[in-house]
């Protein structure tokens, strides 16, 4: 019967494709959603101006990308992964274990993280300490001991700030932006508090435990490295509704800020740049999130962006080296390159040259 034939044909199709996966003619890229807008622009230009196919780019997040990237060598694994932070030692080791020995690291540029509010209300002037005191789950009270964050308004955090409710819309914990915000803004703020700073530096059981005692950190958080305990205290965001997880969609945050002039939002510089008529970035430690100030490193909440290339795939999958060259060309990532139009903050010239040459000779990453 007809149905039988259809069934057989469909099965034949599905099994014949298994063998077709053995070769691949397009570059396969995974990784960070922060690097995604930049990598896609390069990929599109690359596909249109060269004889190679347009690389395929999946936005999996930095961690997810590393996991796929380090799974092994072969066409079924990605060739390049984007990351909004440096590769971790544990990830590098996992790569080595799965035979991904030679990895090329390329720093792309910088991304600033803006804390912004609607133009309908006044611009905020914050310090990193304000951000920590407003958003951490436990903050030091008057006696220096940690207690659940008591502040509901900005005025309570710092008398110089307006008397409005603390409402911050930001990305969820799976996001690289959130990691960077926790590390740079909240961690940076926590360092301004003497006891926490000492805890970060502390090593050895006696010192760490003494400081934990002083701060009132529960002993189950103990680690012989004081830095780990510090991270637990400084990077934990409060969960009582003052910090609202708004999903990975930064456009949505911008829209919500417009609707609620009292709220603040956390997102990447490129969204601030594109929506300059609707939202304004807060000054952090007196520095505005502006292109030149992020590029010069004066703006405190900025992070480097990377991509990692599987050297073993260069030459096996057509176009990898050419794509890397296109990405690292002055035309793309230079001071006046097309990536800056999309909101990438370029590196200084010397640093660009160093990474571009490294990329050309496939200088491997060592850890």
């Amino acid at each position: 019967m007809n149905t039988k034939h259809l069934l057989l044909a469909a099965m034949a199709v599905s099994f014949s494709t298994a063998s077709m996966a053995a070769s691949r003619d397009h570059v396969n890229i995974v990784g960070s959603s922060t690097v995604y807008p930049f990598a896609t622009v390069v990929a599109e230009k690359f596909g249109k101006t060269t004889k190679f196919k347009t690389p395929k780019i999946e936005s999996t997040g930095s961690g997810g990308g590393m996991k796929l990237f380090c799974a092994g060598i072969g066409v079924e694994h990605p060739d390049i992964t984007n990351a909004s932070r440096r590769i971790k030692k544990s990830e590098f080791e996992k790569c080595q274990k799965n035979g991904v020995n030679a990895i090329l690291e390329v720093k792309v540029g910088y991304d600033g993280i803006a804390v912004a509010n609607s133009k309908k209300s006044k611009q905020f002037k914050l310090t990193r300490k304000d951000l920590f005191m407003a958003l951490a789950k436990d903050v030091p009270g008057k006696d220096g001991k940690l207690m659940p964050n008591p502040c509901k308004t900005w005025k309570c955090v710092n008398p110089a700030l307006p008397d409005s409710k603390i409402e911050v819309l930001g990305p969820p914990p799976t996001s690289g932006t959130r990691d960077a915000f926790a590390e740079l803004a909240m961690g940076g703020g926590a360092k301004k508090i003497a006891d926490l700073k000492a805890l970060r530096k502390a090593k050895g059981e006696k010192d760490v435990k003494a400081l934990m005692e002083k701060l009132g950190v529960p002993m189950k958080a103990y680690n012989k490295k004081g830095k780990k305990v510090f991270k637990k205290v400084a990077y934990t965001v409060r969960e009582d509704g003052a910090y609202i997880e708004a999903g990975e969609n930064d456009n949505l945050i911008v829209q919500k800020l417009e609707a609620n002039p009292n709220a603040l939002g956390i997102f990447g510089y490129s969204f601030l740049d594109q929506n300059a008529d609707k939202v304004q970035g807060a000054l952090i430690d007196g520095v505005a999130p502006e292109f030149e100030l992020i590029a010069s490193g004066k703006y405190p909440v900025s992070r480097p962006l990377f991509f990692y290339v599987k050297v073993a795939h260069i030459g096996k999958v057509p176009g990898i080296q050419e794509f890397v060259n296109a990405f690292t060309s002055e035309q793309a990532w230079g001071d006046e390159g097309y990536l800056t139009d999309k909101g990438l903050i370029p590196m200084p010239k010397a640093e660009r040259n160093k990474y571009a040459t490294d990329a050309k000779v496939a200088n491997n990453l060592k850890m």
């Binding site: 999946e58 969609n249 008529d277």
Partner: protein
């Protein structure tokens, strides 16, 4: 009556009077209930109207694109100095440079690197590719001066469409004062027009909103649905026919039935995880390919199709089966010659509804890598591709303002497809349905 009241000394009502007394209250109750029901329907309609209204009002402008007329001199020396007409030579010429020169010629007073850069930003970076295609298709144009309409940059497009406010201070809008002057100048020369946005319907994805199209995703959706249809329809119908007509009734078939009903309620993301583990990691099928998407969606739609097909088979009266068997047909002949043709309209309806469900699905495709930036239009079921709902998701997440209207336009298209598929199901049912 009067007697009764007098006899007992108490007023007693007959049942008719009781009814009369309560009538007004009962009518009022019914009226209230009707009004509540109507209010519920109206609330539903209001939300739909709100949803559609916001999508259409955001998205209708995406079907038009602002275009700029350029006058480009295609000098022999710039494109093909040796007059070889070799496609290799033609393809590497600097068309971007030609577009820039054309803009400089239009506004000769623009000096300085920064100002020139702003001038170049007026037209889309796709202009160079458009020029290239034009020359490649017709090399005889070289040496002449051509006039062509190229898409304006997305910021200019947004300004013309009124999404960027001219009255705001310069620092607060993406289109600068100088660009406004140039735009007004071009407009007065009649070199700005609003044309039907063919790119949106013919191109693949792009990071430049004015060059982004839905066609790549639509083709991906088609390939994915093709695989889904080819697999789920025969398997679903075969399973339904066997279970309904041939299978013995015992504990095993009961168990299978319960499981099919349960599978229909499993969240679709679970099928995505299954697809990742089985089809990609175990069978080694390529990531991001419609074939894997189709397989995953097959798993998802199978229960829907089986349940609908069984219902269709059940609705065929037993007398038809008995008559066929009585005339000497074998059970297989009875099923394929009589029952199946009568049940087919119902089965097709179920299949189309299953397909419509699969068309709108995005969650399981997240797991198998179909949420990706893909520019090239897929040519087969193993090429990397994405599907329409995923394209909507990706555009909704893009920072450029112009993607807002494109997102809504893509939603309108997807809704159009869904509505027409459901309408087809209704028409099929109306046309072929038989009542006994």
């Amino acid at each position: 009556m009067n007697n009764q009241i007098q006899n007992n000394g108490v007023e007693r009502l007959t049942s008719m009077e009781k009814v009369q007394a309560g009538l007004a209250q009962r009518y009022a109750k019914e009226r209230r209930f009707r009004r509540l029901g109507l209010a519920a329907v109206m609330t539903g309609l209001l939300f739909i109207a709100l949803l559609l209204g916001s999508i259409v009002s955001n998205g209708y402008s995406a079907f038009w694109q602002t275009e700029v007329q350029l006058e480009v001199q295609l000098e022999q020396a710039d494109i093909d100095p040796e007059v070889s007409r070799d496609p290799e030579v033609l393809s590497v010429a600097d068309y971007g440079g030609l577009v820039k020169r054309s803009l400089r010629n239009t506004f000769p007073e623009v000096k300085g690197r920064r100002d020139k850069r702003k001038l170049y930003e007026m037209v889309s970076s796709g202009a160079a590719f458009q020029l290239q295609d034009m020359v490649m298709a017709n090399p005889d144009l070289i040496g002449s001066t051509v006039k062509l309409w190229v898409p304006a940059d997305d910021d200019i497009d947004m300004l013309v469409k009124g999404h960027i406010d001219r009255s705001k201070p310069e620092s607060e809008r993406r289109v600068k004062d100088q660009q406004l002057e140039w735009l007004d100048e071009l407009t007065s020369q009649g070199r700005i027009r609003s044309a039907f946005n063919t790119i949106f319907f013919t191109a693949g994805d792009s990071r430049e909103p004015e060059l982004a199209g839905i066609w790549g995703a639509a083709v991906g959706s088609m390939f994915t649905l093709l695989v889904t249809l080819c697999l789920s329809f025969p398997i679903g119908v075969a399973a339904a026919v066997y279970l309904e007509e041939f299978a013995p009734v015992n504990r095993w078939t009961d168990l299978i039935e319960v499981n099919i009903n349960n599978l229909a309620a499993v969240p679709s993301i679970v099928f995505g995880l299954l697809g990742l583990a089985v089809f990609i990691n175990f069978f080694g099928l390529p990531r991001s390919a419609p074939v894997v998407g189709g397989l995953v969606l097959t798993l998802m739609t199978l229960p829907t199709i089986i349940i609908a097909s069984r219902a269709a088979l059940k609705s065929v009266p037993p007398s038809i089966r008995e008559a066929a068997l009585g005339l000497g047909a074998s059970r297989m002949q009875m099923v394929f010659h009589h029952v199946l043709p009568l049940a087919m309209p119902g089965m097709l309806t179920g299949t189309i509804i299953g397909m419509a469900q699969a068309l709108g699905e995005s969650a399981p495709l997240l797991m198998i890598g179909m949420v990706a930036f893909i520019v090239d239009i897929p040519g087969s079921i193993t090429d990397p591709s994405t599907v329409m709902p995923v394209q909507i998701y990706l555009w909704a997440d893009s920072p450029e303002r112009a993607f807002v209207e494109r997102t809504s336009a893509a939603i309108m298209l997807l809704l159009g497809f869904l509505v027409s598929m459901n309408a087809l199901a209704v028409i099929l049912r109306k046309k072929f349905e038989r009542r006994w």
